[in-house]
Symmetry: C2
Subunit: 203 residues, 2 copies
């Protein structure tokens, strides 16, 4: 969370100054590991969404945050660009945990727990390995870059959503969405891929 938030806000602080120089970046430390290691929401998208909202404001944040989350769940991460940055030592950090290209995986979820587990199973690396830690660092760079890309599109008045929710989510959401009709299935809300956790209850 701190990584993605501070990447965007520090760049704005350097380029623009106030109010971006007044925000205590360390406030965002808690998002790491899906909330202090709890494995809930991925900290990278939590921090990037705060930065998006800070810049885009109440009128625009919703469509950009939704796009960021859907992109995160559907994109092989870390990206090839991120892997190449590491190989070429182009990241703005003194030391990498490894400069090898890392395997990619698609999370299908906004959650740290799911994202890390899928990557570990795809790569064969353990969750406490330096490679997993480096993977999350590269992914954080990818998410910060995507957030800036979305903000730049908004600034150019050129943002249009390019992504759809998963087919599974769209199918279930035909009935199971936020709404007023309990008996029609509107006793829930959300846009994640339902089949990550639920078997199809209508089989």
């Amino acid at each position: 969370m701190y990584g993605a938030f501070s990447a965007v806000v520090t760049a704005l602080k350097d380029a623009v100054g106030s109010p971006y120089d007044l925000i205590p970046l360390d406030m965002m430390r808690y998002g790491e590991g899906g909330m202090a290691g709890y494995g809930s929401l991925c900290g990278a998208i939590n921090g990037a969404s705060a930065a998006i909202t800070l810049v885009a404001g109440e009128e625009h944040y919703k469509k950009l945050v939704t796009e960021l989350l859907t992109w995160y769940t559907q994109t092989p991460l870390p990206t090839e660009i991120s892997n190449q940055y590491a190989v070429n030592h182009e990241f703005l950090v003194d030391e990498l945990k490894t400069d090898e290209p890392l395997p990619q995986s698609v999370s299908g979820s906004t959650l740290c727990h799911v994202s890390v587990t899928k990557w570990c199973l795809a790569s064969g690396y353990a969750s406490g390995s330096k490679e997993r830690s480096e993977r999350c660092g590269r992914l954080t760079g990818d998410v910060a870059a995507k957030a800036v890309e979305l903000l730049n599109l908004l600034a150019d008045n050129a943002f249009e959503s390019a992504l759809s929710l998963s087919e599974e989510a769209e199918t279930c959401r035909a009935c199971h969405k936020k709404g007023d009709d309990f008996d029609a299935g509107q006793f829930t809300r959300g846009k994640e891929n339902c089949l990550n956790c639920h078997e199809n209850p209508h089989k």
Copy 2:
């Protein structure tokens, strides 16, 4: 997220002033409905965790955020205190969606989707109902109050964790936790109740 964060930070701004008067509260709008309606992390605990980290700092946030999340997953919400505040019109808002006492439920999860669904099923109210909306408002007050309680304990040097993870999580985490041994099951991380999403794979 905005609700819990602004509750704590506005009180600090009024009592202490700087730096709490410099933080753009609207930056936290994105957390509502589990990230702009995505149904991921509950916004109340996201915002309260930011406030905790802002006050407690890097050295102390982890134990308080972990305690807050575990409390959230195990506590019948909204609390009776919160229901009584509503009945007596003691909340600091001009208008309530309803001033009736509301049914309670235990989420067993940090996620908006799970928390809302369990409450809808327990109460019979739809996810788009004014009662569900009011329920999330009261719950946000409960979470902000808990965060302040934890911060006050820390300030008095009296904080001790009073809660344990769910029995299911502790059982699974005997093998499946963050660590270096992939073959021993350390290809994942997290502290949620595993059986929310997973059947027992060892049966």
